[in-house]
């Protein structure tokens, strides 16, 4: 299935979880936040949350500067 990650199209196996997506993209599991269709998915749900065809994923890092 195809999804978008930060506006780029990515092909992903059906039924993949957010955790699996991050691993396949070689992204760190810590210090990141993930939103699916503009809804933040808390880290405690990443292993179980299944991504669907056409989902818009946003991946970004915590920033602390000020």
């Amino acid at each position: 299935m195809n999804i978008t990650v930060n506006e780029s199209v990515v092909a992903l196996a059906e039924g993949s979880s957010i955790e699996k997506l991050l691993i396949s993209l070689d992204k760190p599991l810590t210090g990141s936040a993930v939103a699916v269709n503009q809804q933040i998915i808390s880290r405690s749900k990443w292993a179980e949350y299944k991504i669907c065809e056409g989902d818009e994923i946003s991946l970004f890092q915590a920033i602390a500067g000020g």
Partner: protein, 250 residues
């Protein structure tokens, strides 16, 4: 009652239907804690003082360094080496003698922060590190004090509002649960002054709206600002029932 001086000073607020005399009185009565007086805290403190927020508590243990002046617009070159809280207190007193400003010039621990929270209506997190952000969030959750969080590096800004007086409020830890994680900050990544200034200014805007009783479109939302494209993205944050800070305690 507003004095004649106040009516003159705040005349542009009084013209606004959404603020008016009742809003200005609410600002006068309000007590706001600003933690961190750098690139975010400089514009935030100046705008809140100018707006007539009656009681400002400003906290920073740092002394001003020359590398701060590129973005921390509350200060001048002649201020280098002095404590930022003391400097900004003077700056705000010159700007608006009708408000009270109190300073905290050393690092607050959880106990002192909890004490200070008993005496404020709203907190602005303008700090520059993850440990402080997590501590401030946990204390605001516990004390049920609304928290407006800003952060910026490079060309990017993040802005959030958690109304901890509401039981269903999410919290900073629901979004970023890692306390010990390496995070990006201005000294390891760089930042443009107007980017961090934009976020600090938005924190002040949301604070004024909250204090005069206007609804916020930022509640339980995260806004990401891209200083290159000028785009804002908006994300909804739901309370994480498993959050170790704000989730249901058994």
């Amino acid at each position: 009652m507003l004095s004649d001086d106040e009516i003159l000073r705040y005349s542009r607020h009084l013209l606004l239907e959404e603020v008016g005399e009742s809003g200005q009185k609410a600002l006068k009565k309000a007590r706001v804690l600003i933690i961190g007086l750098g690139g975010l805290g400089s514009p935030a403190a100046i705008y809140l003082a100018a707006a007539g927020v009656g009681s400002l508590l400003v906290a920073d243990f740092d002394v001003l360094e020359v590398s701060n002046l590129q973005r921390q617009i509350a200060y001048q070159s002649s201020d280098i080496g002095a404590n930022k809280a003391a400097l900004i207190k003077q700056r705000l007193a010159n700007l608006n003698p009708q408000i009270r400003v109190r300073t905290v010039n050393r690092k607050m621990d959880q106990a002192q922060l909890m004490m200070e929270l008993m005496m404020v209506d709203l907190v602005l997190d303008c700090t520059d590190n993850m440990a402080s952000r997590q501590m401030i969030n946990a204390a605001c959750v516990q004390a049920k004090v609304p928290l407006i969080v800003g952060a910026a590096i490079r060309f990017e800004g993040q802005l959030m509002f958690f109304d901890h007086a509401q039981a269903d409020s999410a919290c900073y830890h629901c979004l970023f649960p890692g306390t010990e994680e390496e995070t990006l900050n201005c000294s390891n990544s760089g930042v443009l002054g107007p980017v961090v200034g934009t976020i600090g200014t938005m924190q002040a805007l949301e604070a004024i709206k909250k204090l005069v009783g206007l609804p916020s479109a930022l509640t339980n939302r995260l806004k990401l600002f891209d200083g290159k494209t000028l785009n804002w993205q908006t994300f909804t944050i739901s309370k994480d029932p498993q959050c170790s800070v704000c989730g249901q305690k058994i």
